[in-house]
Symmetry: C2
Subunit: 267 residues, 2 copies
């Protein structure tokens, strides 16, 4: 891996060999939490400049097993940004109308325009995950999608979009604990569905599908990051650090003044 948790293009990934325990990678939780707050503050500082500049487009893709922390990451990392410049798009089961189109149609409609950050909570990757595991289409349909997705993402980056993809990596035990806490805490019941248990039974099939996603779709232009996510504090630290560094790299600047701005008198 190159930068933090980034998968090297061409590398064959077996998620079972990658730790889910961020705590083993960072021995100082207090320090990580302080740094996280610093990163988050910096993100909230840079985002309005990105918006004002209107030159870059940033797409953040979040995928995970159920209860992997997609919602919570979004909430934590983007707390404090101006909601005007950050849109979160949650992709659900496609509608009849969406199904009448190709699977990238609804995705393309939701990519960020200039100056914006869009966060995909689930994405086109579901079309090679649940669609594959539940056999919603035959293999000869989903198999070519890896290449199609790579081409699509390449096109997006060629036309000015920066893509950051995060797989929030939790263990099967951690999922059990999170499901249990959704059952134990009444205000979390709405997040729990009996379907979640069915999907938990398919853990191994999803694992295989995710291995393929991350192996086949970690490209130079849009690599995956596999974030150890059993500990939320580590996950937040890592995601916000990577995001922050990418924003620093884009180095947004307020746009140049209109000519004549210094001679203006307001009547």
């Amino acid at each position: 891996m190159g930068t933090l948790h980034q998968v090297t293009p061409g590398e064959s990934v077996d998620l079972s060999e990658i730790t889910t325990a961020g705590k083993d990678l960072h021995d100082d939780r207090d320090k990580a939490e302080k740094e996280f707050k610093k990163f988050r503050k910096r993100i909230a500082e840079l985002q309005p400049v990105l918006y004002a500049e209107g030159k870059h487009k940033l797409l953040v893709v979040l995928q995970a097993m159920d209860a992997g922390g997609k919602d919570s990451t979004t909430r934590s990392v983007f707390e404090g940004v101006n909601p005007q410049g950050v849109h979160v798009i949650s992709f659900k089961a496609p509608s009849k109308r969406e199904l009448a189109h190709d699977y990238l149609w609804r995705v393309h409609r939701n990519v960020p325009p200039l100056g914006m950050i869009h966060v995909f909570n689930r994405s086109h990757y579901e079309d090679v995950l649940i669609v594959r595991v539940d056999e919603l289409v035959p293999q000869e349909v989903w198999e070519p999608r890896f290449d199609q997705i790579n081409q699509f993402e390449k096109f997006l980056t060629e036309t000015g979009t920066t893509i950051l993809k995060f797989y929030l990596h939790i263990s099967k035990d951690e999922q059990k604990e999170r499901f249990q806490s959704r059952l134990d805490e009444p205000h979390k019941h709405w997040k729990f569905s009996l379907q979640d248990l069915e999907k938990r039974k398919q853990w191994d099939q999803y694992r295989t599908a995710f291995n393929d996603v991350i192996t086949k779709c970690s490209t130079e232009h849009a690599p995956w990051h596999v974030i150890p996510a059993d500990q939320k504090w580590y996950r937040n630290w890592a995601v916000s650090k990577i995001l922050c560094e990418k924003l620093e790299e884009l180095n947004p600047q307020y746009p140049p003044d209109e000519p004549g701005l210094d001679q203006i008198v307001i009547e």
Copy 2:
């Protein structure tokens, strides 16, 4: 007016008779700022329940003269909400494609679905504001729009959307000060355009157009609120109070448990 700053349907509004000075209406700025924080916290508490419940749709419309505080209100009031449940839509000059449709087409595409709060930064009202003042269409085209807009908003409320419309009411002097501060502070230059001065020269025409908007489109289902907005602290207090009270009225609840949730054992 009924509830705070709400225009009574049928009332003929002359904005020159309504104060822009919130400080004259609330003599304790410290108290207002503390209350604002309380309201904002409550909004951030209720929004996730609204989202979880997926029963209501809330549309907040912001209109104002330039520098009236649309961006700043959005940022201030919605700081701390989960960006997943709040989308801000900034309507700019319509694209060629948008102009090829009726003027409500792009608006309808952006109304909130169940569980969501959408904030319109500018809106379909521009089609009876700038479009009228700059004579982009003749009077026989814009004049019927008041009724069309009322019908459209009525339809939205009949199909489950709650609409809150805010006119952020600033004085011509306050606009001058805000423009000046945009000129004086380099990181605000990008917000300033020479066009703004042209529009400032049209202050009286916009005033007439806004008087009509607020008089004709304050309906039972979607009344306007005229918020004295020269003092940001008062504006934030008033907008967050009205929003908070509306959310309390909607009284969102976490959805009922799926049957059998209490007998679940996670393998």
